[in-house]
Homo-oligomer: 359 residues x 4
């Protein structure tokens, strides 16, 4: 019953196998090797684009390097309030850019609405604040597990570009979003106007591998140097490349994401059957947010279930490529056990929470 | 004949096995897991110290975080000219500290001499430069493959501490140095006065694993936050821990280092037998610096040998845990072939280079 | 009719005289002079405290150096949304601290309410955000011209200190606030729990002179070095000192502030007499915020009046030590002229704006 | 006998007069005023160039902002060892650029020799160091009081530009150098290939006024925002402008510089007459470096003379626009007095110091 995060898993077996298989190679360090070159080819094929890539070991590294490439130290980056770059990365963007400002905008179920972006841009006083609007950063899938369609991204990109800003996507769960959107990588990224994409593999089965994809190679200036000076250039770089080669091989990344998404739907369906449990946001990827009746959270935790307890009282269950039916069944059994013993499966009085509450 | 760097190898089999063996575990992310706790215990046992650890994926991360912990943004860090932090890490120390100054001192076969450190400290005008002397950083083994004895480190530590500075050691090849020194980890580190040690495992057989060891836990303030905000905190942190657990298991780290060192001695011995080849620095770990006669460098490179060609004309051969006798023999055979064909195994006219030349 | 800012004036004659009078002196540069020492004595007398001072030429320098002294690069600084450090200083705090986070809290007529500070601190998740709560920063008088009483400051200081944070005051208009509060400098600062005060003189009659007062000398560590490395240490430092000596001489600073405040009251009184004009915030110092009927803003601007037009539609009139009755009368005459010609002095339909709107 | 620095003086009377004369004006803050516009026109006329200007209050601000405009955070800036930006500005360049590296080159009497610059560029390994060569920065007049001719600058500019670098000049004593060079401002700057010039007025008679001149307006991108966020934008900006207007008025700046230079020549001539005193560097501007016999330094200091005692044993006398004949005569009288009493005017045994010693 390990639903705390999609980070609690190890490595997908297919990825680990490739890692082991390539281990005996001797390769030049710092990315000057054939596996890295092969990974670049794979990225270009998968995205149907002559893109440039940068491989790192963490999502925070990917996001902060991506944004430092498109926002100067006096820049403003517009994002959803509570997004990972704002709330959970310890100021990495501010640090990497040398002090850029994150301007946060209230999200709608985790997503940035075009009209709110326009309002925030209109409200921004560049002259008085000495802050150059430089980038919009959205999370796909969002922190609340919702997915932007290609059309929604295009609308945001249009506003961003129309105001001279670049569009960045934090794609820690991008494969999950792609699996949900049912379109192609190209349609959901550069064809919709995305300039830079942080494409995560770690949450979806890699050991530690994230890529920054620059769909415009002009934006790469100085990025490799920044990666080095921020300590993020791995010497045995080919191990990052190998993970992505396995990730893309035979569509593994989508298989892994589809499994995680499907398990979340399974869990959602079972939870929704309890009148006393409320599903808080649309479940589109591998995250299920729910509001539990009094006592159930503690009951589950005591029973060994792990999940994220939010400040607003809701809980988050994250499924992954490794989530088994047995885990879900065990959780449901623990819930049944709770209601059995209490016979109190009414909806709690504090049930309603608005869709846009950031959790 | 892959002698370019100790980074060209993959992972030592014993380490990879542990990585695979622990993969099916589900563990809390970001270091809140049992493997990380176990690794901390292992570090404390190995170093006989109640130290604090910080695990990262690169040596540059380790060094810059270590120095940011002991040098403020207006601090001065004294190091050997051409040391890795000065010449090869892209300004990571300056970046991570917010602008600290590296004051470089001419080394002696790569090592910092106490009298030169004292002279540099005496020469430093804190008032006029607004630079607070904060730390001394040395490399063990040095960039030229030489090793500081515990006594030599103690002499430097005494000067550093006497002037209110901390002593940091960049130990990318610390296991190799320890194997050479023939003493205990404690004797070569905190008992000799080292305050913070960047202990590398990657060059010595890990996939990507480096540790910063703080022998004084007071120095840890804010370090974990810095690691996060610089993008260096791995979500599946236990994979770093596993590598170190395997590294220390049954003295593997020393076995790997001894093999690398022994292969370097073997290579040194064979090279030294040629009158036309000069060994440039004492070979104490796994690095052999040599001066080759005209034409041999190109001959070897064309024959597929890989090694580092220095700006000063010397070459560096790095052995590793994975260097085989066959590789050495192949290199020697290629050298024999060169001399055979040329019959010119005289010492080149430009033979002499001073010991302190930074290469 | 120059009401755009208190910055539009030159230097108060008494201050300029002292500057001229001391000009022929030859003095050691960078603060090692007798005038600087005399200014330090003056500060200590005025504030009845063994404080430490740092003199700079701008308020942004003062605020960012003050906060860099008490907030690390991974720190969080709590302030009112729209406060000068957040909205109008171009990210100076983020830059000087190396990336600290400003956490903004909705103000009440520009002031921070204790309960909102407590809520923000309770809401801050240090573990998840990797952000150490480090400081609270308030503006005295606030951006909306309101004044914190000594008691109100003490309440905030108590919360800050109880949570391990320091309390900083941005006192760009501190003399105006002191004149309003009718208490002593000590009562309104350190006795109420202020740890660091940015005391502005420029807006209140100096040419360019701001001081950072550290009531706890422990907080000064590294501050002088930071001032130098950020380019804010004046070589002919005594000119900063002279301005403060004149500022404090015979209570000049309070005389200047009282005049500015009195002129604001005069203006407020006259504006309030028009039914169609709404005074937006309590007028406690030298700032008058008003909501003008349609057309009046343009009429006044065309007539040569200068004032700040806010994004929310309100306007700000700033008086100063140099504001004459004639200027006020000219403004009022222009307003009379407007209403005379329009005969439309009804309250506009959009009159009501809530007190806490940040303008 | 105040020869410690050209910073010990107050303001030149002509400049102070203009400051007083313009004081009663009310002007828009932050540079949006007519005096600032007038100063820009003056700069363009004086330099015969459609340049862009940035006014600040300190030389360190000017230099660090100038270099941050042309060097990225991963850039390398080549300069003479011991130059002001390297030795005396507390790391301002590193701080403002976000960590750029100063690569120091041994100077020749304070000046950068073209062949040494070429060697340093050739020696720089961009790939291995991750440091992009970005700028060359020289000091005019140099820290040792020597002057680059227009031809010498052109030679350096040619090398810089040929390698893709920009040429910056730290002109804290640029007026003194110009007076010595006997050419026009244009010839000594942009026509010789200078891209950015930090033009100092403070040392040459201003209260606190420095300008950064961008001869290519493309280089200005983001510079105004950086000035704000580093706290260097003065609110009553017109006071900076007024100082430069007075500085350029009727050639005042050159008159002031010529006086300072002439007094240095006078002093040099008198000192050179003593066999026991050695003049160390060519005296070309307002700095006289000398080596005094044992005991004389202390004798003069005790007699009230102020001058800079260098670590290498030499002393520096700085003259200024305000240096009187009486001060020089008093110094000479004190020297006479010393020799009279000692009768030991022999050259000291340790006389010889090489020309290129950085002091």
């Amino acid at each position: 019953m390990k639903f705390y995060s999609d980070n609690v898993t190890g490595c997908a077996p297919e990825i680990l196998e490739q890692l082991v298989a390539s281990n005996s190679l001797k390769a030049m360090p710092y990315g000057a090797d054939e596996l890295t070159s092969a990974a670049e080819v794979a990225f270009r094929q998968v995205f149907e684009s002559d893109l440039e890539t940068l491989l790192v070991a963490t999502g925070t590294a990917a996001n902060s390097l991506a944004l430092a490439a498109i926002a100067p130290s006096h820049g403003a980056v517009f994002c959803v309030r509570g997004s990972h770059i704002e709330a959970s990365e310890g100021g990495a963007v501010e640090f990497m850019t040398g002090g850029a400002k994150l301007v946060s905008i209230e999200g709608d179920a985790g997503k940035l609405l075009p009209e709110r972006l326009e309002a925030a841009l209109a409200d921004h006083d560049e002259g008085a604040s000495f802050r150059k609007p430089a980038a919009v950063s959205i999370t796909q899938a969002s922190e609340l597990g919702t997915v932007y369609s290609a059309g929604e991204i295009a609308a945001l990109a249009s506003i961003a570009h129309g105001n001279g800003l670049k569009l960045h996507v934090d794609g820690a769960r991008w494969a999950n979003a792609l699996a949900c959107a049912g379109t192609t990588p190209a349609e959901l990224s550069w064809r919709a106007g995305v300039d830079v994409l942080s494409l995560g593999a770690t949450k979806n089965g890699a050991l530690a591998a994230e890529a920054v994809l620059f769909f415009d190679s002009q934006l790469m200036q100085g990025v490799r140097e920044r990666r080095k000076r921020s300590g993020m250039l791995l010497s045995k770089h080919r191990f990052l490349a190998v993970q992505f080669l396995a990730f893309f091989n035979s569509g593994l990344w989508l298989d892994l994401a589809r499994h995680a998404n499907a398990q979340a739907q399974k869990l959602r369906g079972k939870l929704a059957a309890y009148p006393a449990i409320a599903i808080v946001h649309p479940v589109e990827v591998n995250l299920v947010f729910a509001r539990l009746p009094t006592g159930l959270t503690e009951h589950l935790a005591q029973g060994g279930a792990e999940f994220h307890q939010r400040k607003d009282g809701a809980v988050r269950f994250a499924t992954s490529f490794a989530t088994t039916d047995a885990e879900i069944d065990a959780l449901i059994a623990a819930i049944d056990d709770f209601f059995e013993s209490r016979k109190t499966n009414d909806r709690p009085a504090d049930f309603h929470i608005p869709r846009s509450t950031p959790i």
